[in-house]
């Protein structure tokens, strides 16, 4: 076990700090924030991702061959710490970077990797994930969206739902049924779909938070070249499981932790300045206890990721443990936002629309958004089933 930094690590940190100082807008995180309008914000995040790439700071853990810098674990940890400290914005192409790229690295052909990875890391091509359907959520293997082979392409018909970022995406990873006779897990294929193909339409869905990040996506005789099949025909389920393992795993969580740490720091600062009676909100011992609990839990989220990475680096295979990671962080972060509202106390109901709202309503918005954490990437109940059955060996 070792958490010390070498001179080379320190140089990496300095280089990143200097780059952030030069590239974040002046006053970033203090007086200057991302745009409030959803679409503008998405474009701002995409733009930031492009900037990161240009500076050599996007997808740092990726192999050099595909545009990354093959960053070591300690460099990834430093990256996370510095991005949190600088309150740097999140990139937009999370699905591309964390899910699609990792899946293609495992299961894609070299041709597919060469074609798609560079444009993911550069932020040129944003991806969405077409897995869930109206009648196939937790029971994902029961998807009905059909792909029928006709010559050198598949023809897709069906509907996906909850497709995040479909409105910004150029590409989609799609799970489709390619054989209706086989048992349900065995008739599924994993396809790469160009979102500009005729026959695709999307309809935004309004979320709890009032935002519309996710969509319904319809496929009406959409033609997808056979070359866009990943892995074997009818072999898509196994590939989808790789995608989900990364969606639930430490890469994804370490990136998110940056954001939660920023929010928690902002919350503590808000509580320390928010007048309450004769003092400030942070004088309340109940609030202090809860804030401290979140400090511990968010820091443990980071430590969990570093432990999982360290094991993975020694070649210990990735397994159902990713579900433990996901179940942990989704609940502790939901608790954190409950605490945020409690810390705001009597002013908690005032959201961003009101001039008196502490923190310009960011905590109310985040609180609402946090309700999704225990639903997407597999609900908590599903994660618990996986942990109980596959990690602990309890009966089905």
């Amino acid at each position: 076990m070792d958490f010390t930094y070498s001179a080379k690590d320190a140089a990496f940190r300095d280089e990143l700090r200097a780059w952030l100082a030069a590239n974040l807008p002046a006053g970033w995180g203090e007086t200057v924030f991302g745009p409030e309008d959803e679409d503008e914000n998405a474009m701002f995040r995409l733009d930031w991702e492009g900037k990161l790439y240009a500076g050599g700071w996007n997808g740092i853990a990726w192999p050099v061959k595909y545009g990354g810098r093959g960053a070591s674990l300690v460099e990834q940890a430093i990256f996370a710490e510095e991005m949190a400290r600088a309150r740097a914005p999140e990139g937009l192409n999370i699905i591309g970077r964390n899910l699609v790229a990792t899946t293609l690295l495992h299961h894609g052909s070299e041709e597919q990797r060469q074609r798609y990875l560079p444009k993911i890391i550069s932020g040129e091509e944003v991806w969405c994930q077409g897995f869930s359907e109206p009648n196939a959520g937790s029971d994902l293997a029961s998807i009905r969206c059909r792909a029928v082979r006709e010559g050198d392409h598949f023809v897709i018909n069906g509907q996906k739902i909850w497709t995040s970022f479909a409105q910004y995406a150029q590409w989609c990873i799609l799970l489709a049924r390619t054989d209706t006779d086989l048992p349900k897990h065995q008739g599924i294929s994993f396809l790469l779909v160009d979102m500009s193909t005729p026959g695709i339409s999307i309809r935004p869905l309004r979320q709890i938070s009032g935002e519309s990040e996710f969509n319904e996506t319809f496929f009406d005789n959409v033609k997808v070249p056979v070359a866009n099949l990943v892995g074997d025909l009818n072999g898509g389920w196994k590939i989808a499981m790789t995608t989900l393992a990364y969606e639930r795993g430490p890469e994804d969580a370490l990136g998110r932790q940056i954001h939660f740490k920023q929010e928690l720091d902002a919350l503590i600062e808000t509580a320390a300045t928010l007048k309450r009676g004769k003092g400030t909100a942070i004088d309340d011992p109940t609030v202090r206890q809860k804030l401290a609990k979140s400090v511990v839990e968010i820091e443990v989220m980071r430590l969990n990721c570093l432990r999982a990475f360290s094991k993975a680096l020694k070649g210990k295979p990735r397994g159902p443990e990713a579900s433990m990671n996901k179940l942990y962080w989704s609940h502790v972060t939901q608790n954190m936002y409950e605490t945020a509202l409690e810390a705001l106390g009597p002013l908690a109901p005032l959201d961003g629309g009101d001039p008196l709202s502490p923190g310009e309503g960011r905590f109310q918005l985040s609180f609402l958004r946090s309700k999704a954490f225990t639903i997407y990437s597999g609900s908590s109940e599903i994660q618990r089933n996986i942990i109980a059955e596959r990690v602990l060996g309890l009966p089905k």
Binding site: M1, D2, F3, T4, S72, L73, V74, A77, D265, I268, E269, A272, G279, T280, I282, P285, R288, Q289, L291, A292, K293, V295, V296, E297, E299, V300, L303, N304, L306, R307, F309, S310, K311, L313, K314, M324, L327, Y328, E381, Q383, R384, N385, I387, A388, E389, V391, L392, G393, L394, P395, K396
Partner: protein, 379 residues
């Protein structure tokens, strides 16, 4: 960076588990509830296995390793509910290694390494909270030394210890410090407490003008730092042992859930049970992250030592509370019996939870450290 253990460290854990599984079970713990509560044979086996030489520097006959090397075996000691003052002696060893004078190190460390000394810290007082500034037992100057009077409570295994490492204030308004005294030194009297965990053998320690000289004081001079370090080391050891206990209770519960049937099914197939087990597993895994990191911070005297220790003590404490409670629930009526023995884990976890600062005390310390780090001026 590497947040994992080496093969040797895992091997050490494995041999320790093997040794404890083979030589020490709950029946043996039950037998220790009478008599002086010390399992001498087990103590000697643990000593042979290197337990006490680990923290001792090589020049004093030890292995010269650190807290990180201890983490996994501490978990095993927790898991097995080792009865003797093992964690206590390790806590005190660290204080001597870090703060002792050369003479103290030469005199004590070789004996500790061989397992010949049992040393137990005496910290708690009946009218104090967890903050060391509450310590009221005071040493007053007397002759060329000090005279200590007052009362300590909840001193584990005090009657069988060779030394008590006493935390006291040296002169009113003076610094805190640690004094090593024998339990039979003139003016010391012991009374065994009645407690939640009879296997921990807690004692009240009454001090009536106990004479202490410079050589008794760890480091020769009292220092606040020696006391804070002792508390931090004790806290991490308790946190790691609680994690071991939690792991054992989960394993026992999972086994039971696989074997017990009701309504014609294994109870482990009911989601109400399996989801509990999953939540327990997640909390225990996170406890490990917290405890292992704290061990590293302690070993390296990292700048965030205080925060890391307090994170571990609060998180692992909350987890062991949750896991032990759920463990009893999963066992139904059997869980409530004296016979099954699950309560021994609950009891030990409980006393560890309230030693070296409880979760609420440590959370407050985490927040204070965080506010400090964020540079927020307190108003």
């Amino acid at each position: 960076m590497d947040f994992d253990f080496s093969d040797e460290q895992y091997k050490f854990q494995e041999t320790t588990r093997g040794l404890l599984d083979k030589n020490y079970d709950l029946d043996r713990l039950r037998k220790l509830l009478v008599g002086d509560g010390l399992d001498r044979e087990l103590w000697d086996r643990l000593a042979e296995n290197g337990t006490f030489s680990l923290l001792v520097p090589e020049e004093h006959g030890g292995m010269g390793l650190g807290f990180v090397d201890l983490s996994l075996v501490l978990e095993e000691y927790g898991r097995a509910l080792v009865p003797a003052p093992v964690g206590e002696t390790l806590t005190a060893t660290d204080a001597i290694v870090r703060f002792g004078t050369d003479e103290q190190k030469q005199r004590l460390l070789p004996l500790i390494a061989e397992g010949k000394l049992k040393i137990v810290p005496a910290i708690a007082e009946a009218e104090a909270g967890y903050d060391p500034t509450d310590i009221a037992v005071t040493a007053v100057p007397s002759g060329n030394g000090w005279s200590i009077s007052g009362r300590k409570v909840l001193v584990p295994h005090a009657a069988t210890a060779d030394f008590i490492m006493l935390a006291a204030r040296f002169s009113e308004d003076g610094p805190l410090g640690l004094a090593l005294i024998e339990p039979d030194r003139a003016g010391v009297s012991l009374r065994e407490h009645s407690t939640l965990d009879p296997s921990s053998r807690f004692h009240e320690l009454d001090l009536d003008s106990v004479a202490v000289v410079r050589d008794d004081i760890v480091g020769g001079e009292p220092t606040d730092a020696s006391v804070t370090r002792l508390l931090d080391a004790g806290g991490v050891i308790a946190a790691t042992m609680m994690t071991g206990i939690s792991g054992k209770v989960l394993d026992t519960s999972v086994e039971y859930a696989k074997q017990r049937t009701q309504f014609g099914k294994q109870i482990g197939s009911f989601q109400a049970i399996k989801h509990r087990c999953a939540d327990m597993a997640v909390a225990i895994d996170a406890s490990r992250s917290a405890a292992y990191y704290a061990a590293w911070a302690l070993a390296e005297e990292a700048p965030d030592r205080a925060r890391a220790v307090s994170m571990a003590k609060s998180y692992c404490g909350d987890t062991s509370r949750f896991v032990c409670n759920e463990g009893v629930q999963i066992h139904g009526g059997m869980g409530f019996t004296w016979e099954l023995g699950l309560h021994f884990y609950l009891r030990r976890a409980k006393v560890l939870e309230y030693s070296y600062g409880d979760a609420a005390y440590h959370r407050e310390r985490v927040l204070a450290e965080t506010i400090d780090e964020l540079g927020i001026g307190m108003n």
